[in-house]
Each structure stands twice: as structure tokens, then as C-alpha cells.
């Protein structure tokens, strides 16, 4: 497989994480404030205008994206072996480099998020009037039956495969069973997270995208529930049959994450007249 396939998968991830997602997220700065208290927003137009006009977060993300792509390109073009290079294969260097760059960027993103939410909680009080639906939300409202059946079946088959292979003696030992415990824990964790998602309190994206947001969220969780299956199949291949599917498996995992990001980016507002949308016009009025 050409090294450019790896590069394209990683470059797509970099673009999604550091260009498209921040751009989509930035336009929701004001709706997030309006979501907490629209009156505060109306009373602090100067602060809101400053926040709306601020580009340093977007620019920081773009710079990090450019640095990431440049570093990956340098490895792909053999201009450098990369800081983690050495004797490792080029695809492995690309994989590790992408993971490290993504982790560093994500940590910085988390710091930004913590600062933003702390600011929001400190300075924007919750509105006195609060609304809630009396209709319960359940997973089946947001994810069709065939999808749910497919995911559950895949997860169960995958976990059964581990047990069968272990019982048949094709693989075993402490390494094998601890790997099994890991994929089982991941499967349970993602299942619980997917089940809890419909009960999440509606926020600004729900108001902007309507029920489509929760539907997309469920699809994303569905995709994430595939990751233990992919990782598990890789581990089974390695333990039982001596394959080394690290490269393909890792590319598949990254592609799942990319698909999840594309699902979120594909969301379109359903209510252009919603309060969140009129925030800017209210400010400029």
C-alpha cells in the first residue's frame, strides 16, 4: 500500500480537526451564551461583539493544522525521519507522528474548552426561566432498528469470537485475556455512553440543528462502538493467526473517527429563524 494512502487519511483528519471543526464551532460562540441567558447577551453587546470577532482560537487551530500537515508531508517525502523515526517503517512513523500531533493539539483544545466553559459559568448566569420537554428521549427515537441490531450483533459476535478462539486454544495466555478484558470494557463503555446520550440536556446545537443533532450524535456513537470491534479483530488476528494488521487497522480506526467528524460537519441548521440565529442581527441592531 502506498504511503500516500496513509498520508491522505491523516491529512484528512488534520483538516477536519484543525480547520473545519473549529470553524463550525466558532459560529456557535454567541448561541452558547444565548443558550444560558439571552438577556445577558443583550445587555453585554460589547463583550459579545469582541468574542464574535475574535479569531485567535481559529488561527491557533489553523497554525497547528499547517504544522501537522507539514510534518507529515516531510516524513512522506523523506525530508526527515521524524522525531520518533529511527529504524521504524515509514507508515509507522507517520502513524506515531500523527497520533502525537493530534494528542498535543487535543490537549491544547481541551485547555481552551476548559477556559471557555469556566468563563461562561463565571460571567454568564443561568436564565431564571427554564424549559423542558415532557417527552422522554430514548435511543430508538434517534437510531433506526436495523442500525441498532447491526451494532449489537457485531459487538456480540466479536466478543464471542474472542471466547471461542480462547476456548479452542488458538490463542490464550495472560496477554490474550487481558486484551479481551480491554475490548470488553471498551464495548461496555461505548454502549453506556451511547445509551446515556439521548438523556443529555439539550444545548445550543440542539436548538440549531433540531433532532438531527441527536440523530448525528447517535450515529457518531454507533461509529465509536465499531472501534472496539476493529481493534479487537486486529488483536485476534495478531494473537491467533500471527497477522500484523497494525497499519490497516489503525487506518481503519482513523477513518472511523474521520467519518464521525464528517457526520457532525454534515449537520445543517433546521431553524434559521431560531433565537440562536438572530443573535448577530440583534447585536448589530
Amino acid at each position: 500500500m502506498s504511503i500516500w494512502v496513509d498520508f491522505l487519511v491523516y491529512a484528512l483528519q488534520v483538516l477536519l480537526f484543525w480547520v473545519f471543526l473549529p470553524r463550525q464551532g466558532h459560529q456557535f460562540t454567541l448561541p452558547m451564551i444565548a443558550d444560558r441567558d439571552p438577556e445577558w447577551l443583550a445587555a453585554h453587546r460589547d463583550v459579545a461583539a469582541r468574542l464574535d470577532g475574535s479569531r485567535w482560537f481559529l488561527n491557533t487551530c489553523r497554525v497547528w493544522g499547517a504544522v501537522s500537515i507539514a510534518a507529515l508531508l516531510a516524513v512522506a517525502l523523506d525530508l526527515t525521519t521524524g522525531p520518533l523515526g529511527g529504524a521504524a517503517a515509514k507508515w509507522e512513523v507517520l502513524k506515531d507522528l500523527n497520533s502525537v500531533l493530534l494528542m498535543i493539539g487535543s490537549l491544547v483544545w481541551c485547555v481552551f474548552a476548559v477556559i471557555w466553559f469556566r468563563w461562561l459559568r463565571t460571567y454568564v448566569p443561568l436564565a431564571n426561566t427554564r424549559r423542558a420537554t415532557l417527552t422522554p428521549r430514548v435511543v430508538s427515537d434517534y437510531l433506526s432498528r436495523p442500525w441498532r441490531v447491526a451494532i449489537e450483533t457485531l459487538t456480540v459476535l466479536h466478543l464471542c469470537a474472542w471466547v471461542v478462539i480462547g476456548v479452542l486454544g488458538w490463542a490464550g495466555g495472560a496477554d490474550y485475556w487481558s486484551a479481551f478484558a480491554f475490548v470488553t470494557a471498551m464495548s461496555v463503555l461505548f454502549k453506556v455512553a451511547a445509551a446515556l446520550a439521548p438523556r443529555r440536556r439539550p444545548g445550543y446545537p440542539d436548538r440549531l440543528f433540531g433532532d438531527n443533532y441527536r440523530r448525528a450524535e447517535q450515529r457518531v456513537w454507533c461509529l465509536f462502538r465499531l472501534t472496539p470491534v476493529i481493534a479487537g479483530c486486529m488483536m485476534i488476528g495478531e494473537h491467533a493467526f500471527g497477522f500484523d494488521p497494525d497499519r490497516v487497522g489503525h487506518l481503519l480506526l482513523v477513518s472511523v473517527v474521520n467519518l464521525a467528524m464528517l457526520t457532525l460537519l454534515g449537520l445543517r441548521p433546521v431553524a434559521p429563524s431560531a433565537p440562536s440565529f438572530s443573535v448577530r442581527s440583534q447585536l448589530s441592531a
Partner: protein, 131 residues
Amino acid sequence: MEITVLTTSPEPVYEQIVRQIQDRIAAGELKPGAPLPTVRQLAGDLQLNRNTVARAYKQLEDRGVILTAGRKGTFVRDNASHEVERIKSSRAERSVRHLVAALLGEGLSRAEIETLFNDALRVARVKESVP
């Protein structure tokens, strides 16, 4: 179907929830057997402490309006509308009794109280007829 709570209202928040759910049942918007959101969902949506919503649900359950069926969820009871009507009637009866006792205490006669009530009802009817 939404409910709205006002955190600055003198009426406690859990009572606002109870009242609004009862009103929805009385109006037929929440039919017998209709599922209600979980405590967690409603508390999250209203950005309230879970205990506040749990207290409201407990009160509705004690009054026989809703039924919590373990993991299946919370549902409106079959006879909920009758219960709500009964609760409303008994509350109204209590209020009227208190009022009458207070007016008698003020030294008003039965005839005067009757006149006051009739006048109040007339005013209320006029208000109702105004679109």
C-alpha cells in the same frame, strides 16, 4: 409538550413541576399510560438538581398521579385525571373553607359573605366572557 419553571418565583420549583404536570393531565395532554421523562433527563433539561425533580415525582406518585415502574420508566396512572380533579377539588375546598373562616373571624355575616362570593363570581364570569 413543554414545561417552564421560573427559579425566582415564590412558588418552589418542585411545586411548579407538580402543578404543570397535573395541569397537562387535567387538560388531557398527558393521557393515562403516557411515559414521562426520567428524573435525570428532566433535571438536566431544566438545569436543576436531580433531588428537586425527584421530589416532584415523589409527590406526584404519593398523590397517585404517576407510577414509577423501575427501569421501565415513569408513567401517567390510568386514573390520574380523576386523582388530579380530586386533588384540585380538595385544595379548592380547603382554600374556600379557610377564606370563609377568615371572613367570619372578621365579623362578616353569612349573608355578606354570600354576597361577596356572588359578586366575585359575577366579575369572574365577565372576565371569562371578554375575549
